[in-house]
């Protein structure tokens, strides 16, 4: 059995992993929210969700309510989804289409460009006092049809934050044809970092993912650590299939699995044109919501092809197999047994992740 080859961009190595208390201490999550999630680009959606004038969706980024809306002037914008009057969360629904946004507390209304339309309780001379009470904009950038926001006004532009990642992604021609198809969430009883670690190595694939190693050529499986991201994957073995799909004839002949600092994974599986994102949203220090989003050429689950269904089934199986592993890991983190773990030579992408965590937290 061959373990993964790693092209390592980091020069630092550690004999032991970062301490397990970083997975179990509730105060650490507070620091992570402030120093990591509030300062990094977070994927919130796809342009296919907001194509029409007034189309919007809402999201939460580091406990901040966000709204992304295409204005009546067709410009896409992101704002804090918060009324400037009393800080009430403005739009309650997850998605929709509106010509005007309204706060349900005092009835303030805002145009789709974020400017104040009317503040009913400020009339006459008082009206001038709130002329500048607009929705607060949030930095937003769109690359490869993916919409990212960053709560840090001083953050580096998205394309510069992840080395050559977007150049690499742009090589997949089919991405421009994909649409938001389906989203599902899953609650796991583990710290968000445990799931990232699980994703960043494939030593466990031989033990935990029989269908995965049966399909992909593990002798040629590679993990490459890059600037603020890593990529792993290989080609499919000859004569393999998902369900009834012959992968020798599929549009994608290989699997590419990306991780982007801190909490985003993007996967492209062998098979028909596809992209999926996996986002880890901490609920607390020992609970995480995993958000899985699928992008295919169709805009809803009931329109996808049998081949795309088979691909989803394959991906879901691998994900399901990982959940139990990270939940068992969290139990061990909590125990008195060990304070730190150990790295194998093929776990350098975890070294990179730990290095970034320790640096961000000033540990």
């Amino acid at each position: 059995m061959a373990y993964n080859k790693v092209q390592n961009a980091t020069t630092r190595t550690f004999e032991r992993t970062m301490p397990y208390r970083l997975f179990t201490d509730p105060k650490v999550l507070d620091k992570e929210m402030e120093l990591i999630f509030s300062k990094t680009w977070q994927l919130v959606g796809h342009v296919s969700q907001v194509e029409k004038k007034g189309a919007f969706f809402t999201a939460d980024v580091a406990d901040n309510p966000i709204i992304v809306i295409r204005g009546t002037d067709e410009v896409l914008r992101a704002f804090y989804n918060v009324c400037p009057h009393r800080a009430t969360k403005l739009e309650k629904s997850g998605q929709g289409k509106k010509k005007i946004l309204q706060c349900m507390y005092h009835g303030w209304t805002f145009k789709t460009d974020g400017s104040l339309n009317k503040a009913p309780n400020f009339r006459g001379e008082d009206e001038a006092c709130v002329q500048d009470a607009c929705l607060r904009p949030v930095r937003m950038e769109v690359l490869e049809s993916l919409i990212f926001v960053n709560l840090d006004d001083d953050a580096k532009p998205l394309a510069e934050s992840y080395g050559d990642f977007f150049d690499r992604l742009a090589k997949f021609d089919f991405l421009k044809d994909l649409q938001f198809t389906h989203r599902k969430t899953r609650h796991i009883k583990a710290n968000w970092k445990a799931f990232v670690e699980n994703y960043l190595e494939c030593d466990h694939c031989h033990v935990a993912h029989p269908s995965f190693i049966d399909t992909l050529n593990m002798d040629d499986y590679q993990i490459i650590t890059c600037e603020n991201y890593s990529v792993q994957g290989s080609m499919v073995k000859p004569d393999k299939q998902y369900g009834e799909v012959n992968l020798d004839e599929a549009e994608m002949q290989g699997g590419s699995f990306y991780w982007l600092w801190p909490n985003l994974m993007l996967t492209i599986y062998p098979g028909p044109a596809n992209l999926a994102s996996i986002q880890l949203v901490p609920i607390d220090h020992e609970n995480t919501e995993i958000v899985y989003t699928y992008y295919f050429r169709e805009d809803s689950l009931d329109k996808i092809s049998p081949e795309e269904k088979d691909l989803m089934t394959f991906a879901e199986q691998v994900r399901h197999e990982d959940i139990e592993l990270v939940e068992l890991e969290q139990i061990g983190f909590r125990s008195r047994a060990f304070e730190k773990g150990r790295y194998s030579q093929s776990e350098q992408a975890i070294v990179q992740f730990h290095e970034m965590i320790l640096e961000a937290l000033n540990e």
């Binding site: 005007i100 309204q102 009835g107 209304t109 145009k111 009317k118 009913p120 309780n121 009339r123």
Partner: protein
């Protein structure tokens, strides 16, 4: 089915929500309060079919339920405001 509309101006808070979604049906007076444009807020003129969707958006978006919609002209004996 025919639709009629009017604004109860005593409960309107001048929030400005209705005109942007239904500019051909609602306008504001100088004090910012809304009124139905079709017949100076009498509610007796049938809303054109192509504006019914805008009317529904305005009705649903009114935070004080001041926009009234009926299948009968307002003031008729059978009037029941929704």
């Amino acid at each position: 089915m025919a639709k009629y509309t009017m604004v109860v101006r005593s409960t309107c808070i001048a929030c400005g929500a209705c005109n942007p979604v239904a500019p051909e049906l609602f306008e504001y007076t100088a004090d910012g309060l809304s009124y139905a444009l079709l017949d100076d807020n009498q509610g007796i003129t049938e809303v054109p079919e192509d504006l019914v969707e805008d009317l529904e958006d305005a009705y649903e978006g009114c935070p004080t339920n001041s926009i009234k919609v009926s299948d009968q002209p307002f003031g008729c004996p059978k009037f029941e405001a929704s």
